[in-house]
């Protein structure tokens, strides 16, 4: 696919998103619309929350907290803490996306679309895209995901609440089952598998020990650093064996 233009790469991004990931994130976030309605927000604000916040956990937290009349400053604080995870995600994706002439502004705009689905899927797919076309592919892919999800948030605003329990449970299960398999699909070396394993096993420990809201940050730093250190040692050993 080396001869494609940037526009064709953007369309390729749209095509790959529409083949699966866009629908998974869209369906998984349908419930946000229902939460927004319960919290008393108008239809437009529910859809805007997906376009603007574009992070499922933060949106659930936001509407849930408003419904419980939590103080605005406290809502902002907990959203801020929960979205901290976007930082390592952006930092590990942007260097792969940018070309030599990509402007800072383009990267700021690109960072807005980083969320779990776009991150996991781009981290894998971007390696098959030529450097100069990566931003184009990424914007095509990300727009398809966010627009499909915004449409489903709007749908959820009117439909949710009337779902039978098994389907409601299935809807809530979609995020975890998809996230974990997408992470496994992305794993390329021992470090990635270790990071996944540490994250799963240590999560109950950190959520019991770390201050409320900060447990995932601790988990990422401790488990991620351990996975990186062990992975580095394994890589070095393999390097010695090869030499």
């Amino acid at each position: 696919m080396g001869g494609l233009s940037r526009v064709e790469w953007a369309l390729e991004g749209v095509r790959q998103a529409v083949k699966g990931p866009a629908w998974i994130v869209a369906v998984a976030l349908t419930g946000v619309g229902g939460l927004a309605r319960e919290a008393g927000f108008p239809f437009g604000a529910a859809v805007a929350s997906t376009l603007l916040i574009w992070a499922g956990p933060a949106q659930v937290l936001f509407f849930g907290a408003v419904a419980q009349h939590v103080a605005p400053a406290a809502i902002a604080f907990s959203i801020c803490v929960s979205s901290m995870r976007l930082l390592p995600m952006c930092l590990s994706l942007l260097p792969l996306l940018r070309g030599r002439r990509t402007s800072l502004l383009t990267q700021v705009v690109a960072s807005h679309f980083v969320a779990v689905t776009v991150w996991t899927e781009s981290m894998r797919r971007i390696h098959d895209v030529p450097r100069d076309a990566r931003m184009a592919f990424y914007f095509g892919f990300a727009h398809a995901c966010i627009l499909a999800t915004a449409a489903f948030t709007g749908l959820g605003y009117w439909l949710m609440g009337d779902l039978p329990t098994p389907l409601g449970a299935g809807l809530l299960f979609l995020s975890p089952i998809y996230f974990i398999t997408a992470l496994a699909r992305n794993a390329r070396e021992a470090m990635d598998w270790l990071a996944i394993g540490f994250g799963l096993v240590l999560a109950p420990v950190t959520s019991a020990l770390a201050p409320r809201g900060f447990d995932l940050l601790f988990l990422g730093l401790v488990g991620g650093t351990a996975a990186w250190a062990i992975g580095r040692k394994l890589r070095a050993r393999r390097g010695e064996a090869a030499a």
Partner: protein
Amino acid sequence: MSILTDPAHAPYLFLILFGFLPSEVWRFVSAFVAQGISEDSEVFVWVRAVATCLLAGVVAKLILSPSGALALVPLYARVGAILAGGAAFLLFRRSVVAAVIFGEGLLIAAAMLFT
């Protein structure tokens, strides 16, 4: 009436101030920090490990302390459905779609039995 004082705009203003901005600040900051990170550096590898571990933690929390209808399904069924998804993933040559279908199938079946 100004844009700021029109009550019809209040929910949007609230969303932007207390939902959008506190979340977006991390993406904004990262675009600047990322300027100093090279793709070949160890920092870049480390950041990937941190992000991966963190997201696996998100999954564990969603399974161990779920909300709403998912909380009505027993813990062993939730974990079992994840394992079924994992088995399908390996059986069908690392297929995410197969994992989602098998995991969801088992979970919804369990939810019909237990709720």
